[in-house]
Amino acid sequence: MLKLVDMDTADNPTANPPEDEDEDDYMKMIITEPATPKEKETYTQIRKRKAREAEERGRIKPKAEREAEERTALEASLSASLLSDPELASKNKGLAMMAKMGFKAGSALGSKDNVGARTEPIGISMKEDRGGIGLDSEKKRKFREEVEWEGKRVKAEEGDYRERVRREREEVRLEGQFAAAMRVAERMDGEREETWAFEAREDEETTGWGKKRSISTKPLKQINVLWRDLVRKREEKERDCRMRYDFQQSFSRLPTYDDPNEDADNKKAMGKTQTQYVPVEDLEEEDPELDRFNALEPAERLERLVKHLREEYSYCFWCKYTYPDKEMDECPGLTEEEHD
């Protein structure tokens, strides 16, 4: 390797004719950094740089830094064999004398029968405190154990966290599906009621279609608990929204305050002719049945609702299809997994 490099550098100028030199140079041209013309330092710059350098030299390093430096310098000197650097070793007259006596690098001194002879000097370890024998290794062992334990703990927590996140995501997903199922259930229920009502009216008077769906005034407790939450939430939202609107509209008065002196035109202009919003009658009431139901796991709630849809409407939430008959032959099953 070394020889090869030598040959290269030594032979090139003589072996290659000058014509080839260009080409040769081109082949192994070193692409240097574009030489930026070195800006000439101004006097002030030089002075500042010198002052900075002097300061750096003169800076008294903090004790800890200095001690650490000394220690590393010492460690470095202690660990480097004097024989490992061939250049330095070749200059050493002591080693040259030993070589004359027949010493070979890597071997030990003494009789060749002496197999235990050492090749490395005894290490030096400085004792810095009054710690008893075994304290350092005990400390190291404890430290190691702590690190290991800490590692385990972190890992364990990491596992927990992942599990928790996964569960939370799953819950959010299930809640979403449950909400969707509730909407389906409400719609289907509404449709059925309408058909029933329609059929009933058709029986009495055939007024035809166009009948608007009125605001639900049905008490919440009459709605199936399976999707009652949907209605309740909507009603609450409606109420809040309405109240906010009324509050903003009715400057200083209670929205329901009916001023007898106000004339009708004025009332109309102020948007008070509208029917006053009337919440579902039991909206403000406690609903323990719903609370109980909501306390269930979303998976459980979803399952019940899906079952309900199948039984009542022969509708499979997962197939998104209303089967013609109760048997629902083509539906693979009750659960989501079965529909994969």
């Binding site: 004097l82 004398m97 030993m98 001194l109 005894i122 400085m126 710690g131 024998i133």
Partner: protein, 777 residues
């Protein structure tokens, strides 16, 4: 009734063994009159027979002595080595000697000694091996008849001195005659000496001039388990010498049971019937006098081992039955601090909880001998008859681990640390660091509790930590040392192939490489690795090569007298005393000697003041008043004298610059560089930190320095490795001097890039400018 007898006899026995005058390590403390031959009673009983056997050992056959023969010779009536009548004291000691565990295996030892050249002997502390085995050898080797000596090495100077004294007493001779000792800077032997206790380092130095150790007929390496640098080198040498000198006997003595390593190391190859057999050195083990020790560990690692140790000591005192406590801590400061705290807490316990009296003694290497001796004082008696027992607590370094025997210790508290020398070739730093001990060390410590009766050892660490965290054996010193000095010695010893020199635990190759490099920079070795003239000269000095080179070059700087003093001062413990109770006053006194250019100069000033006529009139008072250590100064004086002798022998001039010359101190500072140019640090930026040259380590000047941090360049004597790195004993120098005096080390063409190189280049330019100016004129 019978039980009472047993306890009373036990007490008598323990009393006998706790008598410090009986402790071989302390015998130098007691003035005994055993050597006064005149006042010996009871000789009449033996005189009649005595004359007929002029020399009791004359009929002994070398290397065929039996234990029985030896016993008979020991029984007198005349001293077999001096033919003088034996004293009553001798027989009294003989009685205790015969009780020692090694004595039971004297014949076994002799048999083995006869049959082999190299023998490994294991005996725990208290077995009597250090005092008895050399004597067993004397009666068998008969060195006095052959003009030879028996040498017994010790790792510590104090041990060599004390044991020699004890054995002189046991043999009824005067120390320095038949039995002597030889330690660095102190030799107490004579022409009659046949048994010489010496430090292992001294034997090594002797080998430099007598490679085959021809003076000796037997060499005993004691406490080999301590694996000091010198012992390891000696073992390597003896392996070779044994081949050249089949008549030389070698005994390796160890206190621990890992003796197989020694046996294996001293394997010999023998050719029997054309087949080469590898035979390990034979082993003889003698049990020590030990009792079982129950070991307790803590449930959890301790947050603060010192605090835990104090708590444990106090708890033992409050709840455990009678028995003294030995606590191991790491260093002087920690020990003194602990002693103070224990004493305070114990006082409170005595006042408030009716605890027994507690006496606390420190024990460490640099403690004056008189204070060291106090640890052998008996424990205090109960404060009132029938009250809770009193006890003593000894808070010591690992000196108390193997080398010192303290009887009466029943409880050992071991936090598991000790201060150990470390060396790393990569940063070239040799320093003392608090480090965990080895399992072998911990077992030794525990063993200390079972010397008198069954004991308990409280280890302030868990059993799991003991098994997992502690290394099996303490690293031998050779692996923890800078080997520059050792390499110089080995070169002088004629070991040329350092790479394959058979050491029990060869050091890392980088360590040898650094040592060779350092010696090359110091011009002690040439590029071929051969000793230069300077190297030859440097090896004559029992000093580190850098110090030796500095001393040898000092006449060139006109200050060899001063450098001689300084070298001596750097070779002894710290001369400035700074007791915790009077730090401020001590600092004020030190300020009197302070030289603004460096600590070396301050030390020199203090020494000169000490040598002045005023101080010499009352050295003790002078030292006390000025917070100087008389002991350190006196030993520096002694070292100086020894070094001066070597200087004179080597024909090195002793010169001084006139004190009033303005170059007086400059010359000294320049002379320092001649040896310590590899230990230079330069100020780093504007802060307080310095960077070491070449190794590039950040250091601070040690707080004890009198040098201000304005000095750009400093030469340092010592690198102190702690949580902060310090250099201690520093003197300011100039960059120009470095380039001038050590041009090879400071060769700027090969110097690593960085701030230091830039600064040196600036200095070089300055020199050249000056030269040009001078040339122009």
């Amino acid at each position: 009734m019978g039980e009472k007898d047993v306890t009373s006899s036990k007490k008598a026995k323990s009393l006998k063994t706790t008598d410090p005058s009986q402790n071989p390590y302390l015998s130098h403390m007691y003035d005994t009159d055993v050597n006064g031959y005149g006042n010996a009673y009871g000789n009449d009983n033996y005189c009649g027979n005595g004359h007929s056997e002029e020399n009791t050992l004359a009929h002994f056959k070398r290397h065929a002595t039996t234990a029985e023969q030896a016993y008979k010779a020991e029984d007198g009536p005349n001293n077999p080595f001096t033919s003088q009548p034996l004293t009553k004291k001798y027989f009294k000691i003989l009685q205790t000697r015969r009780d020692l565990p090694v004595n039971k295996q004297r014949q076994e030892f002799l048999d083995m000694f006869h049959s082999t050249q190299i023998l490994v002997f294991v005996g725990e502390t208290g077995s009597g091996k250090t005092t008895q085995i050399p004597q067993f050898v004397l009666y068998d080797d008969l060195p006095h008849l052959y003009g030879k000596l028996v040498a017994c090495t010790q790792p510590r100077r104090v041990a060599a001195m004390s044991v020699a004294q004890r054995v002189a007493d046991e043999m009824d001779v005067r120390l320095g005659e038949e039995v002597g000792y030889s330690i660095r800077f102190d030799d107490k032997t004579g022409p009659k000496t046949i048994l010489k206790y010496m430090t292992d380092g001294m034997l090594l130095r002797e080998a430099m001039h007598d490679r085959d150790l021809t003076r000796y007929s037997c060499i005993i390496l004691d406490e080999a388990h301590e694996r000091t640098l010198a012992t390891d080198i000696l073992m390597g040498l003896l392996k070779e010498v044994a081949l050249r000198r089949p008549d030389l006997k070698i005994v390796i003595m160890s206190a621990t049971l890992d003796a197989q390593k020694f046996q294996k190391y001293f394997t010999i190859e023998k050719e029997i019937e054309r087949r080469t057999l590898r035979i390990e050195a034979p082993l003889l083990a003698v049990p020590g006098r030990t009792h079982p020790v129950e070991i307790f560990y803590t449930q959890d690692p301790e947050k603060d081992y010192v605090e835990a140790a104090l708590r444990t000591v106090l708890q033992i005192h409050a709840t455990e039955p009678e028995g003294d406590i030995l606590l191991f801590l790491t260093g002087e400061e920690e020990i003194e601090d602990a002693c103070r705290k224990i004493a305070l807490e114990a006082d409170e316990m005595i006042r408030e909880a009716d605890a027994g009296p507690l006496r606390v003694y420190p024990l460490y290497g640099t403690l004056p001998p008189a204070q060291q001796q106090k640890i052998f004082d008996p424990a205090p008696p109960p404060s009132r008859p029938g009250g809770p027992p009193g006890r003593k607590v000894i808070v010591g370094t690992n000196i108390a681990e193997t080398s010192l025997t303290i009887d009466g210790i029943v409880y050992v508290v071991d936090p598991g640390f000790s201060k150990q020398k470390v060396y790393n070739p990569r940063i070239r730093v040799e320093s003392l660091l608090v480090s965990p001990i080895s399992k072998a060390s911990a077992q030794q410590r525990a063993g200390r509790a079972g010397r008198t009766r069954p004991g308990k050892c409280f280890r302030l660490y868990t059993e799991a930590a003991f098994k997992k965290e502690l290394i099996e054996q303490t690293y031998p010193e050779i692996l923890r040392s800078n080997l520059a000095n050792t390499v110089l010695e080995l070169k002088k010893l004629g070991v040329d192939d350092l790479v394959h020199f058979d050491l029990m635990d060869p050091p890392a190759p980088e360590t040898l490489m650094r040592a060779l490099e350092e010696l090359n920079y110091l011009a002690c070795l040439d590029d071929n690795g051969d000793l230069t003239r300077l190297g030859q000269l440097a090896s004559e000095f029992p000093l580190d090569p850098a110090l030796a080179v500095m001393l040898i070059s000092s006449p060139e700087f006109y200050c060899s007298n001063e450098m001689l003093s300084l070298t001596a001062l750097l070779s002894v413990p710290q001369i400035f005393v700074r007791p915790a109770s009077a730090r401020k006053r001590a600092d004020d006194m030190k300020a009197l000697f302070m030289h603004p250019d460096g600590d070396h100069l301050t030390m020199l000033n203090a020494y000169h003041a000490f040598k002045g006529p005023q101080a010499q009139a009352d050295p003790k008072g002078f030292c006390h008043q000025h917070f100087l250590s008389l002991r350190a100064l006196q030993s520096a004086d002694n070292v100086r004298m020894q070094l001066k002798r070597i200087m004179e022998k080597s024909e090195l001039e002793l010169v001084s610059t006139d004190f009033n010359d303005k170059e007086y101190y400059t010359n000294i500072r320049r002379a320092l560089i001649a040896g310590f140019f590899m230990q230079i640090a330069k100020k780093d930026g504007t802060g307080k930190t310095y960077k070491t040259v070449k190794d590039d380590q950040s250091v601070l000047l040690h707080p004890s320095t009198g040098l201000s941090t304005d000095s750009e360049w400093v030469v340092y004597n010592e690198f102190v490795l702690t949580t902060k790195n310090y250099v201690r004993t520093v003197t300011s120098v100039k960059a120009e001097w470095l380039l001038d005096i050590a041009p090879i080390y400071y060769d700027l063409d090969t110097f690593p890039k960085g701030d230091i190189k830039t600064a040196l280049q600036a200095a070089e330019k300055k020199i050249q400018r000056r030269k040009a100016m001078k040339g122009g004129r």
